[in-house]
Point group: C2
Chain length 420, copies 2
Amino acid sequence: MAVVVMKFGGTSVADVERIRNVARHVKREVDAGNKVAVVVSAMSGTTNQLVAWVRDANPLYDAREYDAVVASGEQITAGLLAIVLQKMGLKARSWQGWQIPIETSDAHGSARITKVDGEAIRRHLDAGEVAVITGFQGIEPKAQRLATLGRGGSDTSAVAVAVALRADVCDIYTDVDGVYTTDPRIVPKAQRLPKISYEEMLEMASLGSKVLQTRSVELAMLYRVRVRVLSSFVPPEKMSPVVVDRLENIGTIVTDEDEIVEQQVVSGIAYAKDEAKITILKVADKPGVAARIFGPLADANINVDMIVQNVAPDGKSTDMTFTVQATELPRALEVLKAAEKDIGLFDVQSSADVAKISVIGVGMRSHAGVAAQMFKALADKGINILAISTSEIKISVLIDAAYAELAVRTLHSIYGLDAA
Amino acid sequence: MAVVVMKFGGTSVADVERIRNVARHVKREVDAGNKVAVVVSAMSGTTNQLVAWVRDANPLYDAREYDAVVASGEQITAGLLAIVLQKMGLKARSWQGWQIPIETSDAHGSARITKVDGEAIRRHLDAGEVAVITGFQGIEPKAQRLATLGRGGSDTSAVAVAVALRADVCDIYTDVDGVYTTDPRIVPKAQRLPKISYEEMLEMASLGSKVLQTRSVELAMLYRVRVRVLSSFVPPEKMSPVVVDRLENIGTIVTDEDEIVEQQVVSGIAYAKDEAKITILKVADKPGVAARIFGPLADANINVDMIVQNVAPDGKSTDMTFTVQATELPRALEVLKAAEKDIGLFDVQSSADVAKISVIGVGMRSHAGVAAQMFKALADKGINILAISTSEIKISVLIDAAYAELAVRTLHSIYGLDAA
């Protein structure tokens, strides 16, 4: 008998029919004797409609009121799922974040969960009742006003609830059946990973593989919550209920590195096509120039990712290349233009036709030559590398977007990730 | 300077554009120095959609979950209106029923308000902030779960808030500009009543004139809250702001009888076409037969309105005629059939082609002959009366539905209500 947190996203609860499907997943667990807390998102489309109304009301809206409006989406789903579960003969009730309470910071619209009181929920679980909990939201305890966590926050809600309940597993149901070595739409031979470490998942999440929200993985890593990624679209009856020591039979478990016995050197290839490259040419090569470029960008809340600096052949000026989100490109160029007086005269080139390809694996820590292998493979295909950045468990390169698929397929193959 | 509660129904807040119109009504009051609490309904259509989802999830739903789902409608409107008011430069915040709190009974789906704590709201009003409050809902204090008041409950919310704030007036904005002597679609010469007593309004409300919810009028009468009925569709700038001793300039004030100086004998003619007549023929005329007929109907929660009993010519059996809501007719007939063994053999006739016409006026108390005048006028037009019921300030007759408009027009004229 296990304590299980199950989380269902917007497409899994898109209408009452899909909610009935979710209820059958829940019933499977209850019938097996597990204690179940379910965390739900808003029905897909609902949040977009609510946000559109808020923006129409005032593009510069009060984030506290935005939260009051947008939080209604999950409240609808939670109530409906509780009703469907009751119809199936289960004991169930809905819980809104403030009723538990799930306490948050006062950063309305992108609040952080500060505390989850598991007492009341636990008591109801012990009485055989399913707890259906609104994801994405909580209450700011000082002003007692609703706060939302920002897009994708329901994953984080689920992990936080799992921590509070000391759950055996936090099952995140999505529209894919696990985490893959890369995007199967690009590489048909991509394989589902039965296990992945928190660290690798974090790199995957932040590098464009949108299966889990980054913050939820950080929280899971901090509290050592075992998270599984599963598909809600598999017929509920075809899946076996949670048994604590047999979690790896299905989906992908995100867990401690130590629990992964046969660790590959490289676990996956991620790519992101939503980056843009900016190159600043012939800036005077003197102390403080980087600060004068990146300070104004930071002030404007523009995230800079990869940064490469080259000394120009004349030895007096320097070229600086970096990437930003493609959607931020026009704003970034404006900010740089406004800062020209401060930076000194420079030429600028920019392009959104770039892609970031990353090779990820905790095995890199103990294996040399992974980067060299990558650079050689790309060179063999005639793919030019525009920039490089690395971490302990990841190597990313920026390339021309036209070569993105070729690069992903090539790397997937040379690191031995192709399915037989 | 007055404390004003303003209530806006679903059609008045149907979309963001209409919400902007509501905000201009609010701004007018604030600019005049009044302290304003606004009570809002869900955007029209929203509640119906939510109810449809709940019914789809389970026709026999848990009323507590129904409330959790349906309460989201007003929460959306309240947040949006607060945002629009802020855009216009006003200080404003939304309040959900549980945040105030508005406490209710545990009769989920049709709860009664038991207590409104005006402290927090009052403090915010004193600080120059507009309070935007969700109508139709509150919190059941024991289980701390959301409860809704049932259809039209936002009127009651508004009056309850007005009581808690000791407001000078509770302005109910609807899609008509006041209470009329009768339905202007039937009688073009119908006149807006500048004032009407609580008692008359109660009869109007319960007799099919759907301007105000009955319970809100009862509450206003109990606490002597002056309620006004106004149109939100009049351009906000064309209305003057609330001045306490000049409330009668616009709309209809519902107030104490004593405040109405020139009282007409008859204030209005109401009609209801949604009744059905059931006649039970030749029931044994013995003690307890009425209880055996109406007991099962009451048990099935079917409201019986007018009741007429005639002794049959043979002196041994009796005929019983009564009315129910037309929508309840099939169920009522089923209930009667099931009770046939208990009631004894009988014949039954039923018809939904009936209308109830009512003449209402507190002046009747001191004027004899109102009923006689009514019966004569109807007889002169050849309209047959099927049943009669009376109260101190009202006479209702049941007639063939085909004659409803003729009857209303005739009575409106003979009691001197036609506009010059």
